[in-house]
């Protein structure tokens, strides 16, 4: 957990350095801190951490893998958003500071060991994002998105806390290991089941799944590109990780209560997301709706506690999202939010065309790209116990493939009026990195 401390201190230092109004300096401090945290997490098994005695957070190779994913994603987002952030010289460090504090919460959400840390992690992650969504102060849409996210988010917090209080009332402990050890010994009281259902509702909200998905398209559309990619990657990864931790293990006792609810919502998420995405003309709304379907797929891993394939699927999904959102940020001359403006972009700029094709094919799950293996692992592991969900998942994948292929066809159309786009070196590096992940990410499976 040294990475957590490093990121927190970097955020603080960055805020103070921000007073000098030098965006490049702030960026280099932020990146240095994040890379240090990345390396510390990478070698976390090979040295004695100063916080090894603390029992609120527990690390394992699994949590390290998820931490590496979120820290890596934040590095890419911080770099990719720089061209946008530096326009507002006064507040560049605010963006980075808030993003780093939110990342601290995300790291806590991945490694928590009791409900104290879980609740704190969730709030530390969410509160900076309420601010970040509304950071374009003069923009009406941005403040509306912020209002919507804030009220629905804090309502979900209330519901979650009520659930935690009821679970405490039934078990007498906040510690996940103790609740785990009580499993199967005595029949849990109805209070426990009700508490679990409350927590389930709050989680469905946080990951943006049906039936509490309504906020995500609006909030994504209203927020700046970089913040939108932060929400759809880092927040989703950590919330899903906490979701699987709690529900595939700790709350097994009430599985008969929540299993059918979860299955039905996963099935509806599959279909609903892609079908609603079909009629969108805004890129961010389209990504938000298709994100609902992808979240449903990731939630399949809750049913069998399959962290490995969850990690791999999220790797492919987030890499593709980063790729698309970075391209969208690179197109600063035209309004990249409107899908019709992407017509002919890939034809006019061959490199961008290849990147668009790779990322959307990976999202739709075409072999041999990484996205295929992510989907394949999750679906094949659920094949035995949840056959009907797998079939619905495959049907929804076909709809999704149609959606993504339509976008590829649009962007590759012959259109001589299309904008010529020159990628800045920063964007080029990010797009290159995520394309490499999309092309060769499957090689991780060989180890």
């Amino acid at each position: 957990m040294d990475a957590l401390i490093v990121i927190f201190i970097t955020g603080l230092v960055g805020l103070f350095v921000g007073m000098m109004k030098k965006p490049v300096l702030t960026l280099s401090i932020t990146i240095t801190g994040l890379v240090t945290a990345f390396i510390l997490t990478l070698y976390a098994r090979s040295y004695e951490s100063i916080f090894s005695k603390y029992n609120g957070l527990s690390t394992s190779p699994l949590t390290d893998a998820f931490s590496l994913l979120v820290i890596g994603l934040t590095i890419l987002i911080v770099l990719g958003g720089f061209n946008y952030f530096k326009k507002d010289k006064e507040h560049t460090s605010d963006y980075y500071g808030l993003m780093l504090f939110s990342l601290c919460g995300a790291l806590i959400m991945i490694a928590f060991n009791n409900f104290f840390m879980f609740f704190l992690g969730l709030e530390i992650m969410s509160i900076p994002i309420y601010v970040l969504v509304g950071i374009k102060k003069s923009n009406v849409l941005s403040s509306e998105a912020s209002i919507k996210y804030f009220f629905t988010g804090s309502f979900a917090t209330g519901v979650l806390l009520f659930g935690i209080a009821l679970v405490y009332g039934a078990t007498g402990t906040f510690d996940l290991l103790t609740i785990n050890s009580m499993r199967g010994i005595a029949e849990p009281s109805p209070m426990f089941h009700i508490g679990v259902l409350f927590i389930l509702a709050a989680f469905l909200f946080k990951v943006g799944s049906v039936p509490f998905h309504f906020w995500s398209p609006d909030v994504y559309q209203g927020s700046p590109d970089a913040i939108m990619s932060y929400m759809s990657t880092v927040v989703k990864v950590s919330a899903l990780c906490a979701f699987v931790t709690l529900f595939s293990n700790v709350f097994m006792d009430s599985k008969h209560v929540y299993l059918i609810i979860l299955e039905v919502f996963i099935a509806i998420s599959f279909i609903f997301g892609y079908v609603s995405a079909l009629k969108q003309s805004n890129l961010k709304r389209m990504l938000a709706y298709s994100g609902i379907s992808n979240t449903g797929l990731a939630m399949l891993t809750i049913l069998n506690g399959d962290f490995g394939s969850l990690w791999f699927f999220l790797l492919s999904y987030t890499a593709a999202t980063i790729c698309i959102m970075t391209l969208s940020q690179a197109m600063d001359k035209i309004d990249s939010e409107d899908i019709s403006n992407w017509k002919g972009i890939g034809y006019k700029n061959p490199i961008i065309g290849v990147v668009i094709i790779i990322s959307f094919l990976s999202l739709s799950g075409i072999p041999p790209l990484t996205g295929f293996f992510g989907k394949f692992l999750i679906l094949s592991n659920s094949f035995q116990n949840h056959l009907w969900l797998v079939i619905i998942g495959l049907i929804s994948s076909v709809i999704g493939a149609f959606l993504y292929l339509r976008f590829i066809v649009l962007s590759m159309a012959k259109d001589s009026n299309a904008e010529k786009i020159c990628l800045s070196p920063l964007h080029f590096v990010i797009i290159g990195l995520s394309t490499i992940v999309l092309l060769f990410g499957w090689s991780i499976l060989l180890f």
Binding site: S143, S146, G158
Partner: protein
């Protein structure tokens, strides 16, 4: 359930019922009211009902950790209110109103 110290007796039910009532009032308010300041108050009410519930269980089990949890909730609620009020002021500046139904520009 085997309470270590149970000097709260049969009135436990009473506290739990009050907490649930407060929570329901808060939820109802969030779902029906239109003024954003009232919405904030209703969310605070929900959080405070949780506080009451936790303190009740703390007394019931004779344990201290729920009380510490209550402190965390109070701190987080304060942080949330701060952020919420500043977002509210920003929204008021752009819309000249704090009626939540007027924020309907983002839609399909």
């Amino acid at each position: 359930m085997n309470p270590a110290v149970n000097n709260i007796g049969s009135s436990l039910d009473f506290f739990v019922v009050v907490a649930i009532a407060l929570f329901s009032i808060g939820t109802y308010g969030v779902l029906t009211r239109k003024n954003m300041i009232v919405l904030l108050m209703c969310i605070e009410l929900m959080l405070n009902s949780v506080n009451l519930l936790l303190v009740t269980f703390s007394k019931y089990y004779g344990a201290n950790d729920p009380q510490i949890f209550v402190f965390f909730i109070v701190v987080v609620a304060a942080a949330e209110a701060t952020v919420g009020l500043s977002i509210l002021i920003m929204a008021y500046r752009s819309n000249k109103s704090i009626d939540i139904e007027l924020f309907n520009k983002l839609k399909d």
